[in-house]
Symmetry: C2
Subunit: 335 residues, 2 copies
């Protein structure tokens, strides 16, 4: 099969501060014939995630920076539409890191066949994929969650946060979180979250978080940083754990943002604050899929998605992550 | 025995910022006759430690605040000079938290007989006491030190820091530290420390710490906070551990001091940052005394002391902790 006009998104230039449309470029390419051992994948869904903002900066990190003038990368779910590789028959669904494009050819490296779970395929970009696994690992392993803990989650209605909240509720915890709109607050309350702070309308984040956590905070699942971290540090209970998953407050900063002024509470309250990257814990993925698949089948986890249509909308979807456009997992539907 | 003029130090008022002489008051008391079961202790040595500054603030913490108009408390080594309690014979040496006074009566509660180690009795306020145990616990348990790690220690010539440096060297690590004078730097080098930064003369702390740690930092033993923390965060290696023992930079601050602007490195480098209080780990004290006693006997640990004479000098000794007057353990000799 020869595809004349497969579209993909390049990084046109490195964003300064908040990404803008001009940082992206839509490029058309032809996708050539297959060699032996190769497959042609048509992407059905692609993921946009806050961590991608970090890859747009030219710096040493746990993952290589994106190159200016090259196609972006990220999680995607595709279908094998032509195959010269018996391991990946036509019609099979695969996940890969080859997002931000409509078609690609692969030799099988970096492709994973989706396990059978009955869940929609795009779940493997969300609740059954990296964000779900991030929530699970961060809360249980890094946060060392115990039954009855008091949990606070920042950016609690996002792809990771909403799953964190629900796992914590399943584990018998008191759960509070922060979101950026009343609609998102309603969504969280419908999931059983005990208290929600709208940080955009709050005039005193510290007081509102304190009110939302009457018994303090044993586990803080941190997605935001900045003023959130300072406010929650004041509420932490002794021996509390802060699982640092993200600091989205700082991703688009153009100047250094000072950290919390109350870090010495780490000593006074004997706190552990630990950053993590989910890929370090990927050996636990099969066990996670089994558990999360079970919860999904039992209707115990709600996996809300926000969907943009078509590859041309991918930059908007990505930029929308930083302006609160998504509830739950932000996805782009390609197929 | 009736003591007419036993002296003690009261907290006259809560310090604002750096403590000054007027925050303390020397008070004379008489110490009355013993009842059955009681002992009279004459303090020989008392300890001043940076953590005491925190107890001078009226706030909830792991330990009760000092009361204005009451005697201060802290580690002390004394001798039983009169006894009506067979568990504590006359002449026995005891440690207690009843420092900042010359004599006191006790019923045995809160008194510990010193174990036999051959080390000078005041060692139990330093290398064999709380500071030594803090160094040992923070480095090995919180910092999860491994042979060959690259270690950085702030306030490296202090009571805790100098012991941290030496334990890390005994464990086969590369060790660098920061101090506030060239004389202290020389002392550390005489202990085998590989590189020392004088933070007072440094014009670029970040660059000097980077130069002192050519292979980065796996374990940071944090005594200072502030600019030190920001600089060392930049040098941390992946999966590094930051054992937060103290943040002396902030103890005398009169306004909130912003934290490091680069805390998102916790995620990128997958760091653990953990505060601790040594008393939570006191079950390990006997094993520590045995190990440290052995190292001392073998001459493998040097326990430098800075000694002020007489109880009237105790406030000066305490204030001197914040202006760099001590190398090694700061002590006041009373007996």
């Amino acid at each position: 099969m020869y595809i004349e006009n497969s579209r993909k998104i390049h990084l046109a230039r490195r964003p300064e501060g908040m990404p803008v449309a001009e940082d992206f470029e839509i490029v058309t390419e032809s996708v050539a014939e297959l060699k032996d051992g190769e497959v042609l994948v048509k992407n059905l869904w692609m993921s946009v995630d806050p961590y991608m903002r970090g890859r747009m900066i030219d710096r040493a990190s746990y993952i290589e920076p994106f190159k200016v003038g090259s196609v972006l990368e990220g999680g995607a779910i595709g279908e094998i539409v032509e195959s010269r590789n018996p391991a990946f028959p036509e019609g099979a669904k695969v996940s890969s890191m080859n997002g931000w494009r409509e078609y690609f050819i692969a030799d099988g490296q970096g492709l994973q066949l989706l396990p059978e779970t009955g869940a929609p395929v795009q779940s493997f970009l969300g609740v059954l994929g990296m964000p779900g696994m991030t929530a699970y690992t961060g809360l249980l392993k890094i946060g060392e969650l115990k039954e009855g803990d008091n949990v606070f989650v920042s950016a609690a209605s996002g792809a990771v946060g909403a799953i964190v909240c629900q796992i914590a509720k399943l584990k018998g915890c008191y759960v509070a979180g922060s979101v950026g709109s009343d609609e998102k607050a309603e969504y969280l309350k419908s999931l059983g979250v005990d208290a929600v702070v709208n940080y955009k309308t709050s005039t005193d984040l510290q007081a509102d978080i304190a009110k939302a956590c009457p018994k303090g905070v044993d586990v803080y699942f941190e997605n935001v940083g900045g003023a959130h971290l300072e406010a929650v540090l004041n509420q932490m209970n002794e021996y509390g754990r802060i699982a640092v998953c993200g600091m989205i407050d700082q991703y688009n900063a153009t100047a250094p943002v000072p950290g919390p002024a109350n870090l010495s509470l780490l000593i006074i309250k004997k706190l552990k604050m630990q950053g993590f990257i989910v890929f370090d814990h990927w050996d636990g993925y099969p066990a996670f899929v089994q558990q999360m698949g079970e919860w999904l089948q039992q209707g115990k986890i709600n996996a809300r998605e926000t969907v943009y249509e078509g590859i041309a909308s991918a930059p908007d979807a990505f930029m929308g992550l930083f302006t609160g456009k998504n509830t739950g997992k932000m996805l782009v539907k390609l197929g």
